[in-house]
Symmetry: C2
Subunit: 325 residues, 2 copies
């Protein structure tokens, strides 16, 4: 067997790759899938790149495998979709084809089982750095996917979890101050994010959400996406944002919780809007995750941040953008 196919075979053995609707999985030119009547397909693609999104020296391969799949699957959570299948295009250096790959696949297999995903196809290439590309396929009842474009003036803006936690972890990694035992818990969200799949589906099932996005780039950028798609504006109350808990010693190093929350990417929480009259339908906690109302959609197309003093300042998109200078 040639080496590329040996690798694909190893991937197949490690990651769940059989499912009822998957008529042809890994090992042919393409995967063949059937689907259920009354559903639509939800598909997304996501690149996870060494030295852009992770460092091989700092991120354990198991975390890389888990997070690669978690990131990509979060887009399905943001549509309220059920994950079904995924395809993995993996480029790795020869040095990563033994122990590194085993751990990577172990992390990805754990994520696949957790999210209910079956591996349907793959591609491997020898490359100087690790390049992970994932395609996730899910389903949603026809016409029920939640888009970014449904927010209306007066809708409340809600967010799950706490914001800025993933960015805090990433900053510690970048500064090389992440190995101390007391900082381990500060890395959790960065190393092992959880796509809010059950929450996304709950919101769809209870028909209370008008627009939704996952906070992959950061609140300031992602709220901008909702507002642009919906043709509306927003005001957010700084005091209401559920902020990352930053230890005092790190605050003194310039790590400001509000800044991390506004512009920090990769939290993979859900940011959504609900009509005011339906606000009662959404409890303060869902499946153990806090849900916080942080602001309101406005007719005026500006996005403002209201401070403790009641003053409103423009909230510019300052989140993750790999092309920013």
């Amino acid at each position: 067997m040639d080496r590329e196919n040996q690798l694909i075979e190893r991937v197949r053995r490690r990651i769940p790759s059989r499912a009822k609707g998957l008529r042809v999985g890994i090992g042919d030119d393409a995967a063949v899938m059937s689907f259920r009547n009354g559903t639509e397909w939800v598909v997304t693609t996501d690149a996870f790149l060494e030295n852009v999104h992770f460092l091989r020296s700092a991120h354990p391969p198991r975390a890389v495998g888990y997070k690669a799949l978690a990131r990509a699957t979060s887009d399905l959570a943001a549509m309220g979709a059920r994950p079904l299948y995924f395809l993995l295009a993996l480029a790795i250096p020869p040095a990563c084809t033994t122990a590194w790959l085993e751990s990577f696949l172990g992390g990805m297999a754990a994520a696949a089982r957790r999210f209910g995903l079956t591996l349907a196809g793959g591609d491997t290439t020898n490359y100087p750095s690790v390049v992970v590309n994932l395609t996730i396929i899910g389903e949603v009842d026809s016409g029920r996917a939640v888009l970014r474009s449904g927010a209306r003036p007066g809708d409340l803006i809600c967010v799950s979890g706490r914001l800025g936690e993933a960015e805090l972890g990433w900053r510690l990694v970048q500064r090389g101050i992440y190995k101390q035992e007391r900082r381990k818990k500060l890395l959790r969200k960065h190393f092992k994010p959880e796509p809010r799949l059950a929450l996304g589906r709950w919101l769809v099932d209870h028909r209370c959400v008008t627009a939704m996005i996952d906070t992959s780039d950061g609140l300031s950028t992602d709220l901008g996406h909702i507002c642009k798609a919906s043709g509306v504006g927003a005001k957010v109350f700084a005091e209401k944002i559920p902020l990352v808990d930053v230890p005092h010693e790190l605050r003194r190093m310039g790590l400001d919780p509000l800044r991390l929350a506004l512009d920090g990417g990769e939290d993979y929480e859900l940011l959504f809007t609900i009509p005011k009259r339906l606000a009662g339908r959404v409890p303060r906690h869902l499946m153990g995750i806090p849900i916080t109302t942080i602001g309101e959609i406005t007719r005026q197309k500006r996005i403002g941040l209201v401070g403790a003093n009641g003053r409103r300042n423009p909230l510019h998109a300052g989140g993750w953008d790999s092309f920013r200078k």
Copy 2:
């Protein structure tokens, strides 16, 4: 607008991105698609990487864009499927975001129109080298996809086009002897391969093919894939293989047509098997493409190459494998 989204917007403007069944395309967290009853979905993913598959110094960006999509779509031809949608995950250096990207997108748009593909989703990242990852989604009437696993002893082995042409072009590029005017036509197959979509569908519609693959890795490797999946062997007659036409001066440089045909990748021709009794159904030319019978499937699981002298030697998989030492 942030820069990543500006790029995605440019991609969307250049490449066809609207289609009837595409309810939500580029610009939301994921694409949402509906499908027709009585069909199954065929999905494949493919990475096209700078310095592995192409050189930025040698390959015009328009050719990179066209070929990236052609390569990936060829997997659908090999299933007999109809292409519908594709997703593009593109990582590029800032230096490539202006003129290079325009030409790249121009080539990809031309390929998309030619193959009938609509862009449904995208992802862009700043990266030191160009990494193109494509996911292609197509459909096939339920149960009609042609797999690698259907070849039976006695079936004839057929191939479309000529083999080794793409490898010849690649060798000229690698040796830096591709710029001369007289060599331009030798590069065509390497720069602009054509997935055999119409041929693949014709074969499915005429129900004469038992197994099929596209020659992406090379005849010796790809025939091995069919034999392994089908649990059979094969004998191929060297004299019958439709060989690349190699000019005399290049033969003297060691470029042997038979070797190029056996182990050269990226021709993206169709290699398929048909029961002997149905051989009459397949004409010698289809849509202007020659179809050649080159051998026969055997019960014995070995793969042999029968030379002009009638002697049979083992045919080892010697095609494209990026991990081979």
